[in-house]
Protein backbone atom coordinates (compact mmCIF):
# COMPACT_ATOMS: atom_id res chain seq x y z
CA UNK A 1 0.00 0.00 0.00
CA UNK A 2 2.82 2.37 0.90
CA UNK A 3 4.39 1.65 -2.47
CA UNK A 4 1.08 2.15 -4.27
CA UNK A 5 0.53 5.42 -2.42
CA UNK A 6 4.00 6.65 -3.36
CA UNK A 7 3.34 5.72 -6.98
CA UNK A 8 0.06 7.63 -6.89
CA UNK A 9 1.80 10.77 -5.67
CA UNK A 10 4.11 10.98 -8.67
CA UNK A 11 3.59 13.97 -10.85
CA UNK A 12 5.64 16.09 -13.26
CA UNK A 13 7.51 18.98 -11.72
CA UNK A 14 8.07 22.55 -12.82
CA UNK A 15 6.00 24.40 -15.38
CA UNK A 16 4.89 21.26 -17.25
CA UNK A 17 3.06 20.06 -14.12
CA UNK A 18 0.80 23.12 -14.33
CA UNK A 19 0.52 23.41 -18.13
CA UNK A 20 -0.38 19.80 -18.83
CA UNK A 21 -2.04 18.80 -15.58
CA UNK A 22 -5.23 16.78 -15.64
CA UNK A 23 -5.39 16.58 -11.85
CA UNK A 24 -8.47 18.15 -10.30
CA UNK A 25 -6.52 19.49 -7.32
CA UNK A 26 -3.89 21.17 -9.52
CA UNK A 27 -6.56 22.64 -11.79
CA UNK A 28 -8.52 23.82 -8.73
CA UNK A 29 -5.38 25.57 -7.48
CA UNK A 30 -4.84 27.20 -10.89
CA UNK A 31 -8.40 28.53 -10.93
CA UNK A 32 -8.03 29.92 -7.41
CA UNK A 33 -4.69 31.61 -8.15
CA UNK A 34 -6.13 33.19 -11.31
CA UNK A 35 -9.13 34.36 -9.33
CA UNK A 36 -6.93 35.93 -6.64
CA UNK A 37 -4.84 37.79 -9.22
CA UNK A 38 -7.95 39.06 -11.01
CA UNK A 39 -9.42 40.06 -7.60
CA UNK A 40 -6.60 42.59 -7.24
CA UNK A 41 -6.89 43.73 -10.88
CA UNK A 42 -10.66 44.28 -10.58
CA UNK A 43 -10.20 45.78 -7.10
CA UNK A 44 -7.66 48.31 -8.39
CA UNK A 45 -10.20 49.39 -11.01
CA UNK A 46 -12.82 49.83 -8.27
CA UNK A 47 -10.39 52.04 -6.35
CA UNK A 48 -9.83 54.22 -9.45
CA UNK A 49 -13.62 54.67 -9.59
CA UNK A 50 -13.87 55.46 -5.89
CA UNK A 51 -10.88 57.81 -5.95
CA UNK A 52 -12.46 59.80 -8.79
CA UNK A 53 -15.74 59.95 -6.83
CA UNK A 54 -14.02 61.30 -3.70
CA UNK A 55 -15.33 64.75 -4.62
CA UNK A 56 -17.46 66.33 -7.35
CA UNK A 57 -15.78 67.47 -10.56
CA UNK A 58 -13.16 65.63 -12.60
CA UNK A 59 -9.91 65.02 -10.73
CA UNK A 60 -8.04 61.88 -11.65
CA UNK A 61 -9.36 60.32 -14.87
CA UNK A 62 -11.28 61.57 -17.86
CA UNK A 63 -14.90 60.43 -18.29
CA UNK A 64 -14.10 57.99 -21.10
CA UNK A 65 -11.50 56.20 -19.00
CA UNK A 66 -13.93 56.22 -16.06
CA UNK A 67 -16.45 54.37 -18.24
CA UNK A 68 -13.75 51.85 -19.17
CA UNK A 69 -13.10 51.30 -15.47
CA UNK A 70 -16.76 50.64 -14.59
CA UNK A 71 -17.11 48.24 -17.53
CA UNK A 72 -13.87 46.37 -16.93
CA UNK A 73 -14.32 46.23 -13.14
CA UNK A 74 -17.63 44.43 -13.65
CA UNK A 75 -16.39 42.08 -16.39
CA UNK A 76 -13.28 41.18 -14.37
CA UNK A 77 -15.14 40.64 -11.09
CA UNK A 78 -17.95 38.57 -12.63
CA UNK A 79 -16.00 36.45 -15.12
CA UNK A 80 -12.48 36.65 -13.67
CA UNK A 81 -13.02 36.45 -9.92
CA UNK A 82 -16.33 35.00 -8.74
CA UNK A 83 -16.82 32.37 -11.46
CA UNK A 84 -13.22 31.04 -11.48
CA UNK A 85 -13.13 31.00 -7.67
CA UNK A 86 -16.24 28.82 -7.46
CA UNK A 87 -14.99 26.59 -10.28
CA UNK A 88 -11.74 26.29 -8.30
CA UNK A 89 -13.73 25.23 -5.22
CA UNK A 90 -15.70 22.79 -7.40
CA UNK A 91 -12.53 21.24 -8.83
CA UNK A 92 -10.96 20.76 -5.43
CA UNK A 93 -14.04 19.71 -3.50
CA UNK A 94 -16.55 17.92 -5.74
CA UNK A 95 -14.43 14.82 -6.51
CA UNK A 96 -13.38 14.56 -2.86
CA UNK A 97 -16.94 15.05 -1.62
CA UNK A 98 -18.21 12.37 -4.02
CA UNK A 99 -15.43 9.86 -3.37
CA UNK A 100 -14.35 10.12 -7.03
CA UNK A 101 -10.70 9.97 -8.14
CA UNK A 102 -10.93 13.06 -10.35
CA UNK A 103 -13.32 15.02 -12.56
CA UNK A 104 -15.04 12.92 -15.23
CA UNK A 105 -13.20 14.54 -18.17
CA UNK A 106 -9.75 15.54 -16.89
CA UNK A 107 -8.21 16.64 -20.20
CA UNK A 108 -11.17 18.87 -20.97
CA UNK A 109 -10.76 20.24 -17.46
CA UNK A 110 -7.23 21.38 -18.34
CA UNK A 111 -8.54 23.12 -21.46
CA UNK A 112 -11.39 24.81 -19.55
CA UNK A 113 -8.83 26.46 -17.32
CA UNK A 114 -6.13 27.35 -19.82
CA UNK A 115 -8.57 29.23 -22.08
CA UNK A 116 -9.06 31.75 -19.26
CA UNK A 117 -5.64 33.43 -18.94
CA UNK A 118 -5.65 34.04 -22.70
CA UNK A 119 -9.22 35.39 -22.65
CA UNK A 120 -8.34 37.83 -19.86
CA UNK A 121 -5.10 38.88 -21.58
CA UNK A 122 -7.18 39.68 -24.64
CA UNK A 123 -9.67 41.67 -22.59
CA UNK A 124 -7.04 43.43 -20.46
CA UNK A 125 -4.87 44.32 -23.46
CA UNK A 126 -7.55 46.80 -24.59
CA UNK A 127 -6.54 49.07 -21.72
CA UNK A 128 -3.25 49.63 -23.56
CA UNK A 129 -5.00 50.60 -26.82
CA UNK A 130 -6.28 54.01 -25.73
CA UNK A 131 -5.58 55.49 -29.18
CA UNK A 132 -8.03 52.95 -30.67
CA UNK A 133 -10.74 53.70 -28.12
CA UNK A 134 -9.34 51.73 -25.21
CA UNK A 135 -11.22 49.09 -23.26
CA UNK A 136 -14.95 48.47 -23.72
CA UNK A 137 -16.80 51.32 -22.05
CA UNK A 138 -20.51 50.68 -22.63
CA UNK A 139 -20.96 49.04 -19.22
CA UNK A 140 -20.71 45.28 -18.67
CA UNK A 141 -24.25 45.00 -20.07
CA UNK A 142 -22.88 46.19 -23.44
CA UNK A 143 -26.14 47.91 -24.43
CA UNK A 144 -26.42 49.05 -28.06
CA UNK A 145 -26.18 51.61 -29.55
CA UNK A 146 -23.14 52.45 -27.36
CA UNK A 147 -21.60 49.02 -27.80
CA UNK A 148 -22.13 49.11 -31.57
CA UNK A 149 -20.49 52.51 -31.84
CA UNK A 150 -17.56 51.90 -29.47
CA UNK A 151 -13.92 51.36 -30.44
CA UNK A 152 -12.24 48.05 -31.11
CA UNK A 153 -12.12 47.28 -27.38
CA UNK A 154 -15.66 45.97 -27.81
CA UNK A 155 -14.46 43.49 -30.47
CA UNK A 156 -11.77 42.24 -28.12
CA UNK A 157 -14.41 41.92 -25.40
CA UNK A 158 -16.69 39.94 -27.72
CA UNK A 159 -13.93 37.44 -28.59
CA UNK A 160 -12.93 37.26 -24.95
CA UNK A 161 -16.57 36.57 -23.93
CA UNK A 162 -16.72 33.78 -26.52
CA UNK A 163 -13.63 32.19 -24.98
CA UNK A 164 -14.96 32.61 -21.43
CA UNK A 165 -18.25 31.08 -22.56
CA UNK A 166 -16.54 28.05 -24.07
CA UNK A 167 -14.54 27.61 -20.87
CA UNK A 168 -17.69 27.88 -18.73
CA UNK A 169 -19.71 25.46 -20.85
CA UNK A 170 -16.91 22.87 -20.88
CA UNK A 171 -16.49 23.31 -17.12
CA UNK A 172 -20.25 22.96 -16.56
CA UNK A 173 -20.42 19.79 -18.68
CA UNK A 174 -17.55 18.36 -16.65
CA UNK A 175 -19.25 19.13 -13.35
CA UNK A 176 -22.62 17.65 -14.38
CA UNK A 177 -20.98 14.48 -15.74
CA UNK A 178 -18.84 14.10 -12.62
CA UNK A 179 -21.81 14.46 -10.29
CA UNK A 180 -24.11 12.16 -12.30
CA UNK A 181 -21.60 9.42 -13.11
CA UNK A 182 -18.77 9.47 -10.59
CA UNK A 183 -20.43 9.26 -7.18
CA UNK A 184 -19.14 6.56 -4.84
CA UNK A 185 -21.42 3.52 -4.63
CA UNK A 186 -24.24 4.23 -2.19
CA UNK A 187 -23.91 8.02 -2.44
CA UNK A 188 -27.37 8.82 -3.77
CA UNK A 189 -28.24 12.30 -5.01
CA UNK A 190 -30.08 13.15 -1.82
CA UNK A 191 -27.05 12.20 0.27
CA UNK A 192 -24.73 14.62 -1.55
CA UNK A 193 -23.30 17.60 0.34
CA UNK A 194 -25.23 20.77 -0.41
CA UNK A 195 -22.20 22.39 -2.07
CA UNK A 196 -22.36 19.62 -4.70
CA UNK A 197 -26.10 20.10 -5.15
CA UNK A 198 -25.84 23.84 -5.66
CA UNK A 199 -23.04 23.30 -8.19
CA UNK A 200 -25.11 20.71 -10.10
CA UNK A 201 -27.91 23.25 -10.43
CA UNK A 202 -25.46 26.05 -11.28
CA UNK A 203 -23.88 23.94 -14.01
CA UNK A 204 -27.28 23.43 -15.65
CA UNK A 205 -27.85 27.20 -15.52
CA UNK A 206 -24.46 27.76 -17.18
CA UNK A 207 -25.28 25.26 -19.92
CA UNK A 208 -28.55 27.02 -20.64
CA UNK A 209 -27.49 30.66 -20.64
CA UNK A 210 -23.83 30.98 -21.64
CA UNK A 211 -24.70 29.91 -25.22
CA UNK A 212 -27.44 32.57 -25.29
CA UNK A 213 -24.90 35.22 -24.29
CA UNK A 214 -22.59 33.88 -27.01
CA UNK A 215 -25.48 34.27 -29.48
CA UNK A 216 -26.09 37.85 -28.34
CA UNK A 217 -22.45 38.96 -28.67
CA UNK A 218 -22.25 37.21 -32.06
CA UNK A 219 -25.17 39.37 -33.25
CA UNK A 220 -23.39 42.40 -31.79
CA UNK A 221 -20.26 41.49 -33.74
CA UNK A 222 -22.16 41.12 -37.02
CA UNK A 223 -23.92 44.45 -36.35
CA UNK A 224 -20.54 46.10 -35.86
CA UNK A 225 -18.74 44.62 -38.85
CA UNK A 226 -20.90 42.59 -41.20
CA UNK A 227 -23.79 44.88 -42.09
CA UNK A 228 -26.58 43.33 -40.00
CA UNK A 229 -29.04 45.48 -38.03
CA UNK A 230 -30.19 43.24 -35.18
CA UNK A 231 -30.00 46.13 -32.73
CA UNK A 232 -30.18 49.10 -35.07
CA UNK A 233 -33.62 50.73 -35.37
CA UNK A 234 -32.57 52.57 -38.55
CA UNK A 235 -32.05 49.21 -40.26
CA UNK A 236 -35.26 47.61 -38.96
CA UNK A 237 -33.71 46.17 -35.80
CA UNK A 238 -34.38 46.95 -32.17
CA UNK A 239 -31.93 47.89 -29.41
CA UNK A 240 -34.42 46.49 -26.88
CA UNK A 241 -33.89 43.01 -28.40
CA UNK A 242 -30.35 43.16 -26.96
CA UNK A 243 -31.69 44.00 -23.52
CA UNK A 244 -34.06 41.01 -23.60
CA UNK A 245 -31.43 38.55 -24.82
CA UNK A 246 -28.71 39.94 -22.56
CA UNK A 247 -30.86 39.74 -19.43
CA UNK A 248 -32.16 36.30 -20.35
CA UNK A 249 -28.50 35.40 -19.80
CA UNK A 250 -27.80 38.08 -17.19
CA UNK A 251 -30.34 37.19 -14.58
CA UNK A 252 -29.56 33.45 -14.37
CA UNK A 253 -25.90 34.60 -14.34
CA UNK A 254 -26.62 36.32 -11.02
CA UNK A 255 -27.71 32.94 -9.64
CA UNK A 256 -24.68 31.27 -11.21
CA UNK A 257 -22.67 33.63 -9.02
CA UNK A 258 -24.71 33.14 -5.85
CA UNK A 259 -25.89 29.49 -5.79
CA UNK A 260 -22.40 28.06 -5.14
CA UNK A 261 -22.11 30.70 -2.37
CA UNK A 262 -25.27 29.22 -0.84
CA UNK A 263 -23.56 25.85 -1.07
CA UNK A 264 -20.44 27.08 0.72
CA UNK A 265 -22.51 28.66 3.52
CA UNK A 266 -24.43 25.40 3.85
CA UNK A 267 -21.14 23.55 4.43
CA UNK A 268 -19.61 26.04 6.87
CA UNK A 269 -22.60 26.78 9.13
CA UNK A 270 -23.35 23.15 10.20
CA UNK A 271 -19.63 22.60 10.89
CA UNK A 272 -19.31 25.49 13.33
CA UNK A 273 -22.82 25.09 14.79
CA UNK A 274 -21.94 21.39 15.32
CA UNK A 275 -25.40 20.39 14.07
CA UNK A 276 -26.56 18.83 10.79
CA UNK A 277 -27.93 21.30 8.26
CA UNK A 278 -31.56 22.10 9.11
CA UNK A 279 -33.98 21.19 6.30
CA UNK A 280 -31.55 19.55 3.85
CA UNK A 281 -34.28 18.51 1.40
CA UNK A 282 -35.96 21.91 1.45
CA UNK A 283 -32.53 23.46 0.73
CA UNK A 284 -32.21 21.29 -2.39
CA UNK A 285 -35.72 22.13 -3.60
CA UNK A 286 -35.26 25.83 -2.77
CA UNK A 287 -32.05 25.91 -4.88
CA UNK A 288 -33.84 24.25 -7.79
CA UNK A 289 -36.80 26.65 -7.45
CA UNK A 290 -34.50 29.66 -7.47
CA UNK A 291 -32.81 28.29 -10.61
CA UNK A 292 -36.16 27.78 -12.35
CA UNK A 293 -37.48 31.21 -11.38
CA UNK A 294 -34.25 32.85 -12.57
CA UNK A 295 -35.37 32.14 -16.17
CA UNK A 296 -38.66 34.03 -15.93
CA UNK A 297 -37.68 37.30 -14.26
CA UNK A 298 -35.18 38.85 -16.69
CA UNK A 299 -37.23 41.89 -17.70
CA UNK A 300 -37.19 43.30 -14.14
CA UNK A 301 -33.83 44.77 -15.24
CA UNK A 302 -35.63 46.83 -17.89
CA UNK A 303 -38.91 48.00 -16.33
CA UNK A 304 -38.26 51.54 -17.61
CA UNK A 305 -37.77 50.49 -21.24
CA UNK A 306 -41.49 50.66 -22.03
CA UNK A 307 -43.35 47.39 -21.58
CA UNK A 308 -47.09 46.62 -21.48
CA UNK A 309 -48.47 46.79 -17.93
CA UNK A 310 -49.18 43.04 -18.08
CA UNK A 311 -45.47 42.42 -18.75
CA UNK A 312 -44.43 44.66 -15.88
CA UNK A 313 -46.85 42.84 -13.56
CA UNK A 314 -45.69 39.39 -14.63
CA UNK A 315 -42.02 40.17 -14.10
CA UNK A 316 -42.74 41.98 -10.85
CA UNK A 317 -44.66 39.07 -9.31
CA UNK A 318 -42.28 36.43 -10.66
CA UNK A 319 -39.37 38.34 -9.14
CA UNK A 320 -41.07 38.63 -5.78
CA UNK A 321 -41.68 34.85 -5.82
CA UNK A 322 -37.90 34.33 -5.57
CA UNK A 323 -38.08 35.68 -2.02
CA UNK A 324 -39.93 32.49 -1.00
CA UNK A 325 -37.20 29.86 -1.70
CA UNK A 326 -34.52 32.38 -0.67
CA UNK A 327 -36.36 32.93 2.60
CA UNK A 328 -36.48 29.14 3.10
CA UNK A 329 -32.71 29.09 2.82
CA UNK A 330 -32.12 31.97 5.22
CA UNK A 331 -34.46 30.47 7.82
CA UNK A 332 -32.76 27.09 7.42
CA UNK A 333 -29.31 28.60 8.04
CA UNK A 334 -30.62 30.43 11.11
CA UNK A 335 -32.35 27.25 12.34
CA UNK A 336 -29.11 25.33 11.86
CA UNK A 337 -27.39 27.82 14.16
CA UNK A 338 -30.27 27.81 16.67
CA UNK A 339 -29.11 26.14 19.88
CA UNK A 340 -25.96 24.89 18.17
CA UNK A 341 -22.61 24.74 19.99
CA UNK A 342 -21.32 27.61 17.94
CA UNK A 343 -17.76 28.84 17.69
CA UNK A 344 -16.67 31.74 15.54
CA UNK A 345 -13.52 30.87 13.65
CA UNK A 346 -12.90 32.99 10.53
CA UNK A 347 -14.94 30.80 8.10
CA UNK A 348 -17.95 31.00 10.45
CA UNK A 349 -17.57 34.77 10.80
CA UNK A 350 -17.72 35.12 7.03
CA UNK A 351 -20.69 32.70 6.84
CA UNK A 352 -22.70 34.53 9.50
CA UNK A 353 -21.92 37.89 7.86
CA UNK A 354 -22.95 36.31 4.56
CA UNK A 355 -26.39 35.34 5.91
CA UNK A 356 -26.98 38.75 7.47
CA UNK A 357 -25.61 41.01 4.71
CA UNK A 358 -26.83 38.93 1.76
CA UNK A 359 -30.32 39.20 3.26
CA UNK A 360 -29.99 43.01 3.17
CA UNK A 361 -29.13 42.67 -0.54
CA UNK A 362 -32.15 40.40 -1.01
CA UNK A 363 -34.47 42.88 0.66
CA UNK A 364 -33.25 45.82 -1.45
CA UNK A 365 -33.80 43.47 -4.41
CA UNK A 366 -37.44 43.14 -3.36
CA UNK A 367 -37.71 46.94 -3.27
CA UNK A 368 -36.30 47.08 -6.80
CA UNK A 369 -38.72 44.37 -7.94
CA UNK A 370 -41.69 46.67 -7.32
CA UNK A 371 -42.16 48.03 -10.85
CA UNK A 372 -43.56 51.49 -10.03
CA UNK A 373 -40.92 52.07 -7.36
CA UNK A 374 -38.19 50.88 -9.74
CA UNK A 375 -38.93 53.84 -11.99
CA UNK A 376 -37.37 55.92 -9.19
CA UNK A 377 -34.51 53.56 -8.32
CA UNK A 378 -33.54 52.55 -11.85
CA UNK A 379 -29.95 53.42 -12.85
CA UNK A 380 -29.24 55.05 -9.48
CA UNK A 381 -26.67 54.21 -6.83
CA UNK A 382 -29.41 52.27 -5.02
CA UNK A 383 -28.98 49.56 -7.65
CA UNK A 384 -25.19 49.67 -7.19
CA UNK A 385 -25.62 49.28 -3.41
CA UNK A 386 -28.10 46.40 -3.93
CA UNK A 387 -25.97 44.25 -6.19
CA UNK A 388 -22.79 44.83 -4.20
CA UNK A 389 -24.60 43.53 -1.11
CA UNK A 390 -25.52 40.46 -3.16
CA UNK A 391 -22.20 39.95 -4.91
CA UNK A 392 -19.63 41.14 -2.35
CA UNK A 393 -21.21 40.19 0.98
CA UNK A 394 -22.85 37.28 -0.86
CA UNK A 395 -20.49 35.71 -3.36
CA UNK A 396 -17.14 37.22 -2.27
CA UNK A 397 -17.73 36.61 1.46
CA UNK A 398 -18.59 32.98 0.65
CA UNK A 399 -15.38 32.70 -1.39
CA UNK A 400 -13.29 34.19 1.44
CA UNK A 401 -15.05 32.04 4.08
CA UNK A 402 -14.76 28.94 1.91
CA UNK A 403 -11.05 29.58 1.40
CA UNK A 404 -10.42 29.77 5.17
CA UNK A 405 -12.61 26.69 5.65
CA UNK A 406 -10.86 24.46 3.12
CA UNK A 407 -7.34 25.98 3.07
CA UNK A 408 -6.10 23.72 5.92
CA UNK A 409 -7.40 20.69 3.95
CA UNK A 410 -5.70 21.84 0.73
CA UNK A 411 -2.37 22.92 2.19
CA UNK A 412 -2.09 20.70 5.26
CA UNK A 413 -1.48 23.77 7.44
CA UNK A 414 -3.69 25.86 9.71
CA UNK A 415 -3.94 29.52 8.76
CA UNK A 416 -3.20 32.27 11.30
CA UNK A 417 -6.54 32.70 13.12
CA UNK A 418 -5.68 36.15 14.52
CA UNK A 419 -4.84 37.51 11.06
CA UNK A 420 -7.93 35.78 9.65
CA UNK A 421 -10.14 37.57 12.19
CA UNK A 422 -8.42 40.91 11.44
CA UNK A 423 -9.07 40.29 7.75
CA UNK A 424 -12.72 39.52 8.42
CA UNK A 425 -13.43 42.60 10.53
CA UNK A 426 -11.58 44.99 8.21
CA UNK A 427 -13.45 43.48 5.23
CA UNK A 428 -16.85 43.61 6.94
CA UNK A 429 -16.41 47.20 8.21
CA UNK A 430 -14.87 48.44 4.95
CA UNK A 431 -17.60 46.78 2.91
CA UNK A 432 -20.50 48.28 4.87
CA UNK A 433 -18.87 51.69 4.95
CA UNK A 434 -18.36 51.54 1.18
CA UNK A 435 -21.79 50.33 0.16
CA UNK A 436 -24.39 51.20 2.79
CA UNK A 437 -24.22 54.98 2.08
CA UNK A 438 -24.80 54.19 -1.61
CA UNK A 439 -28.41 53.25 -0.75
CA UNK A 440 -28.95 56.83 0.45
CA UNK A 441 -27.15 58.27 -2.58
CA UNK A 442 -29.41 56.32 -4.89
CA UNK A 443 -32.60 57.25 -3.05
CA UNK A 444 -31.48 60.90 -3.21
CA UNK A 445 -31.13 60.54 -6.99
CA UNK A 446 -27.43 60.06 -7.75
CA UNK A 447 -27.17 58.22 -11.10
CA UNK A 448 -24.74 55.31 -11.50
CA UNK A 449 -21.84 55.18 -14.00
CA UNK A 450 -20.96 58.89 -13.81
CA UNK A 451 -17.54 60.38 -12.91
CA UNK A 452 -19.01 63.66 -11.62
CA UNK A 453 -21.97 64.44 -9.36
CA UNK A 454 -23.94 67.23 -7.77
CA UNK A 455 -22.45 68.83 -4.66
CA UNK A 456 -25.02 67.51 -2.18
CA UNK A 457 -23.84 63.92 -2.74
CA UNK A 458 -20.27 64.63 -1.58
CA UNK A 459 -20.37 63.43 2.02
CA UNK A 460 -21.85 59.98 1.41
CA UNK A 461 -19.42 59.53 -1.50
CA UNK A 462 -16.49 60.30 0.78
CA UNK A 463 -17.68 57.72 3.33
CA UNK A 464 -18.01 55.27 0.48
CA UNK A 465 -14.51 55.96 -0.83
CA UNK A 466 -12.94 55.56 2.63
CA UNK A 467 -14.78 52.24 3.03
CA UNK A 468 -13.72 51.03 -0.40
CA UNK A 469 -10.05 51.68 0.36
CA UNK A 470 -10.30 49.84 3.72
CA UNK A 471 -12.04 46.94 1.94
CA UNK A 472 -9.44 46.90 -0.86
CA UNK A 473 -6.31 47.07 1.28
CA UNK A 474 -7.71 44.48 3.75
CA UNK A 475 -7.46 41.98 0.89
CA UNK A 476 -3.66 42.30 0.91
CA UNK A 477 -3.86 40.75 4.37
CA UNK A 478 -5.90 37.89 2.88
CA UNK A 479 -3.27 37.28 0.20
CA UNK A 480 -0.60 37.28 2.91
CA UNK A 481 -2.50 34.77 5.08
CA UNK A 482 -3.02 32.44 2.10
CA UNK A 483 0.66 32.67 1.11
CA UNK A 484 1.79 32.09 4.70
CA UNK A 485 -0.51 29.05 5.06
CA UNK A 486 0.63 27.55 1.77
CA UNK A 487 4.27 27.94 2.87
CA UNK A 488 3.96 26.29 6.28
CA UNK A 489 2.57 26.51 9.77
CA UNK A 490 0.86 24.32 12.31
CA UNK A 491 -0.06 20.93 10.81
CA UNK A 492 -3.75 20.39 10.11
CA UNK A 493 -5.48 17.13 11.08
CA UNK A 494 -7.53 15.15 8.54
CA UNK A 495 -10.78 16.44 9.94
CA UNK A 496 -9.44 19.98 10.55
CA UNK A 497 -12.67 21.19 12.22
CA UNK A 498 -14.32 19.41 15.15
CA UNK A 499 -17.76 19.52 13.54
CA UNK A 500 -16.75 18.76 9.94
CA UNK A 501 -18.69 15.97 8.23
CA UNK A 502 -18.15 14.42 4.79
CA UNK A 503 -15.83 12.28 2.68
CA UNK A 504 -13.24 15.00 2.08
CA UNK A 505 -12.46 15.13 5.80
CA UNK A 506 -11.62 11.39 5.85
CA UNK A 507 -8.58 12.11 3.64
CA UNK A 508 -5.32 13.33 5.14
CA UNK A 509 -4.50 17.07 5.00
CA UNK A 510 -3.18 17.76 2.41
CA UNK A 511 -4.91 14.93 0.51
CA UNK A 512 -2.70 12.68 -1.64
CA UNK A 513 -2.24 13.77 -5.27
CA UNK A 514 -4.57 10.94 -6.32
CA UNK A 515 -7.32 10.36 -3.79
CA UNK A 516 -10.15 7.79 -3.83
CA UNK A 517 -8.55 5.67 -6.60
CA UNK A 518 -10.68 3.00 -4.95
CA UNK A 519 -14.11 4.39 -4.14
CA UNK A 520 -15.22 4.49 -0.52
CA UNK A 521 -18.39 2.66 0.58
CA UNK A 522 -21.28 4.86 1.69
CA UNK A 523 -23.74 3.40 4.16
Amino acid sequence: MAHAQAHHDEHPTGISRWLFTTNHKDIGTLYLILSLIMFFVGGAMALVIRAELWQPGLQIVDPHFFNQMTTMHALVMVFGVVMPAFVGFANWQIPMMLGAPDMALPRMNNWSFWILPFAFTLLGSTLFMQAQGGAPSAGWTLYPPLSVQGGMGTDFAILSIHMLGISSVLGAINIVVTILNMRAPGLTLMKMPLFVWTWLITAYLLLAVMPVFAGAVTMLLTDRHFGTHFFDAAGGGDPVLWQHVFWFFGHPEVYILILPAFGVASQIIPTFARKPLFGYESMVYASASIAFLSFIVWAHHMFTVGMPASGELFFMYATMLIAVPTGVKVFNWVSTMWRGSMTFETPMLFAVAFVFLFTIGGLSGLMLAIAPADFQYHDTYFVVAHFHYVLVSGAIFAILGGTYYWLPKWTGHMYNETLGKWHFWLTAIGFNLAFFPQHFLGLAGMPRRIPDYALQFTEFNQWSTVGAFILGFAQLLFAYVVWQTAKGGQKATSRVWEGAEGLEWTLPSPPPYHSFATPPKIK
Binding site: V177, L180, L187, G215, A517
Partner: protein, 42 residues
Protein backbone atom coordinates in the same frame (compact mmCIF):
# COMPACT_ATOMS: atom_id res chain seq x y z
CA UNK B 1 -27.10 7.10 -14.13
CA UNK B 2 -26.55 5.64 -10.67
CA UNK B 3 -23.08 5.43 -9.22
CA UNK B 4 -21.22 2.60 -10.96
CA UNK B 5 -19.73 -0.31 -9.15
CA UNK B 6 -16.03 -0.24 -9.83
CA UNK B 7 -12.70 -1.04 -8.29
CA UNK B 8 -10.40 1.38 -10.05
CA UNK B 9 -11.94 4.44 -11.64
CA UNK B 10 -8.84 5.32 -13.56
CA UNK B 11 -9.10 2.20 -15.72
CA UNK B 12 -12.83 1.82 -16.17
CA UNK B 13 -13.69 1.85 -19.88
CA UNK B 14 -17.45 1.58 -19.30
CA UNK B 15 -17.37 4.61 -17.05
CA UNK B 16 -15.30 6.56 -19.59
CA UNK B 17 -17.86 5.74 -22.31
CA UNK B 18 -20.74 6.78 -20.06
CA UNK B 19 -18.96 10.04 -19.25
CA UNK B 20 -18.37 10.80 -22.93
CA UNK B 21 -21.99 10.02 -23.79
CA UNK B 22 -23.35 12.33 -21.06
CA UNK B 23 -20.89 15.07 -22.07
CA UNK B 24 -21.93 14.87 -25.74
CA UNK B 25 -25.62 15.13 -24.84
CA UNK B 26 -24.95 18.19 -22.67
CA UNK B 27 -22.74 19.72 -25.36
CA UNK B 28 -25.48 19.25 -27.94
CA UNK B 29 -27.97 20.98 -25.64
CA UNK B 30 -25.59 23.95 -25.22
CA UNK B 31 -25.02 24.17 -28.97
CA UNK B 32 -28.80 24.04 -29.45
CA UNK B 33 -29.30 27.02 -27.14
CA UNK B 34 -26.63 28.99 -29.07
CA UNK B 35 -28.15 28.27 -32.48
CA UNK B 36 -31.70 28.85 -31.22
CA UNK B 37 -30.79 32.29 -29.83
CA UNK B 38 -29.22 33.26 -33.17
CA UNK B 39 -32.26 31.97 -35.05
CA UNK B 40 -34.59 33.95 -32.76
CA UNK B 41 -32.48 37.03 -33.44
CA UNK B 42 -32.88 36.60 -37.17
Amino acid sequence: MPAMARTDNTRNAALARANLRTALILGAIALGFFLYSLWRGV
